[in-house]
């Protein structure tokens, strides 16, 4: 059995519009182009053994994506792997590191995200102050789609840190949110406003994942 390996990669620029499923295919082909043979699952319909830890929404960027995979070859040169893969990636995907994982994906708990709320006609200073107030509440219950239809969810426990800084026509958002159990999509930070405080809801919001942490807020690798 070949070893499980882990990649860290960035997905920014035009690549943020590549969907999760398309990214899996893109990765598969990039490995082929770089001359690496991915290990395939056994069985009736063999598929390459690659798993992306936290699927990213279309439109969101990331500097800290994690993907596990297996190669057919034993003991590949892990130092060379990021360079070789990056050279054959579509624009915006950069592999930063390849290593033997020591921690399970389930131990990944928090994500630092940065983003912007764009306001076309409202004053960013006022908005930032309002946002601080709004997110000081102890409960923020929104209606969202769940596996069992529409449901009520309190997103507040999934937000560990949250800060707003007014800028030119926008408010910069910095947050640490729960990556899994529960998964808080940073887009919900804007969605909550649309539902509960429309006067603060931005005209457009976008986010980038910056760093991954474990439950004790130690950097997760």
């Amino acid at each position: 059995m070949s070893e499980k390996l882990r990649l860290r990669f960035e997905k920014t620029g035009r690549a943020v519009y590549i969907s999760h499923l398309d990214l899996m295919h893109t990765m598969q082909r990039a490995f082929n182009r770089a001359g690496y043979e991915l290990k395939y699952s056994e069985g009736f319909n063999p598929h390459p053994q690659i798993a992306i830890a936290l699927p990213l929404s279309v439109g969101a960027g990331s500097l800290c994506e994690i993907m596990d995979f297996r190669l057919k070859e034993e003991n590949p040169d892990l130092a060379a792997l990021p360079g070789r893969l990056t050279a054959v990636m579509p624009e915006g995907i950069v592999v930063t590191e390849a290593y033997l994982p020591v921690r399970k994906t389930a131990e990944l708990k928090w994500l630092r995200v940065e983003g912007v709320f764009e306001y076309d006609e409202r004053d960013p200073g006022e908005m930032a102050a309002g946002l601080e107030d709004f997110y000081r509440q102890e409960q923020i219950v929104i209606t969202k789609k769940t596996k069992r239809g529409m449901g009520e969810t309190d997103i507040r426990p999934g937000i560990r840190e949250l800060g707003f800084t007014a800028g030119e026509g926008l408010v910069e958002v910095s947050a640490v949110i729960s990556a899994q159990e529960p998964t808080i999509n940073p887009e919900l930070l804007a969605e909550a406003l649309r539902q509960l405080k429309p006067e603060l809801a931005p005209d457009f919001a976008k986010f980038t994942r910056i760093e991954t942490y474990d439950a004790g807020m130690q950097v997760y690798r």
Binding site: Y17, D22, R29, N32, V88, D203
Partner: protein, 612 residues
Amino acid sequence: MDKRLERILPRVQKPARYTGGEYNQIIKDKNKVDIRLAFCFPDTYEIGMSNLGMSILYHTMNSLDFVWCERAYAPWGDMYEEMNRAGIPLYALESGDPVGDFDAVAFSIGYEMAYTTVLDMLHMAGIPLRTSDRPGLLPLIFAGGTAACNAEPMAPFLDLFIVGEGEEVNNEVLTLLRTAKLSGWSKQDFLVKAAQIRGVYVPSLYEVSYNEDGTVAAVSPTQGAPARVTKRILSDFDKAPYPTAPIVPSTEVVHDRVSLELFRGCPRGCRFCQAGHVYRPLRAKKPETLVRQGIESLQNTGHEDVTLLSLSTSDYRPLPALCDGLLEYCEPRSIGLSLPSLRADNFSMEIMERLQKVRKSGLTFAVEGGSQRLRDAVNKNVTEEDVLNTCRIAFAGGWNTVKLYYMLGLPTETDEDILGIAEMANQILHCWRVNAKYKNRGVKITVSTSCFIPKPQSPFQWEAQISLEEYLRRVNLLRSAITARNVTYNWHDAETSLIEAVLSKGDRRVADAIEEVWRQGGRLDAWTDYFSYERWIKAFETCGLDVDFYAHREAGKDELLPWDHIDMGVRKEHLWKEREKAYRSELSPDCRHQCSACGAARLLDRGFKCDE
């Protein structure tokens, strides 16, 4: 990225098709090129990115260092509406720059139902639709593809057409355009000179007059343009440019695979088939060339499938050597090799058996006509025996799905021929009962019919199409004759076929209707989601055009056809002779048994021969 675009993209379906940035896209410094060209495909990204012709020409045009050729596709409805609402013009994928600012806009038009989308993309780019409304040299709007077989319906919209294979002539036109731009020529000066390039048709240099009965009286060249425009071909096809590092889409497209083009032209000469006639003469690549190109392309793209393209794969003589060469590379890497367009014969079955070790997909036969007499009339050299033999081997080998394709309304078709379709389905069913290896899995036989469309530059170019009512009567006749539970019958609606017939055989006056349909909201008409028969019929009425005149009228032998000044290689006399043979249900031998001197070979450069 454009701020407005950034806001839209997360809201539309499959946004990755609107962003560019794919692996192997070609990026140049826009300040260092003289000609910026938007290469447009008048359909969706998924269709256009699956088109080998687009891929070849993207690379040949970019091989000129003074040209940056970028891509543009038609957005799907949701994106279209968002772009309109936000006021975002059509942009090229590589740079994101508006197409309206480019020096040239080229369209690859492979089917008539794309015509409205050509107009729509011009409009989205902010470019006036008609060449007469574009007095300046730039942007130059041109097109190529099979639409050039009869360019007339689109003639008022395009500054020039590329007739035939574009690999060389496109670059000659772009080189002349560069000179024109740098020297400050007028549009007229440029067009007059461009018309002297072999394979270039400048519609505005031809005056068309009509007879009282509506037929074309004369097409008269002006300002030194040639009386007939002869299509361009590559004589040395083995050395034809082929991109072994094509763009790899980051999202799923129709054909996510490497496509190898075995040969151009077809030795068969089915009389309804435009492609079989307009791509002659026959020119093949060497198997070693194809194996090398296949392996390089697989390495450069990471694709896991490779397919062989041609009009008739079984007619590629070194097919076994090619398959061996490719399989040697593909098999150990789990890369799939697929062979479409095989003929129903034993040789093909052997190859199929070797390829399909794992997956047993269905068998597909393009039978076209329901009786041997009719198949002889259309020169479709498939016998019932061929089909049944192939089925017997296939059923014994464990296959259990058969698809049969037919056309209704072929010239000389009788009710007896139609009933023959049901009879053949029954015979195949019987063949399965006798030979099937796994009877408990059952068998599925699907019969599909479409309505025959007479195509320019084919032996049936003079034919009338049957009416919608007659097509439906024939469909119902066949429906009532197909009774077996295991046989499914699908028929395509004939409304699209009727419009396609008008556009295929139309003259310049049809352009008004195309524009009118577009004005009434028509675009992406090749999609049933968007096609509206009523909109087309209304537009023909509004423009005073008679659908029957174009679709349902048989043309006379001496009639000047609207496309007669376009020479695709095969002589008109040959086409007529073939048509006469159809009415005698007389077969023509395929080119390899006996050359029929169709005329296409005269296009070859000295030293080259057809099918060598």
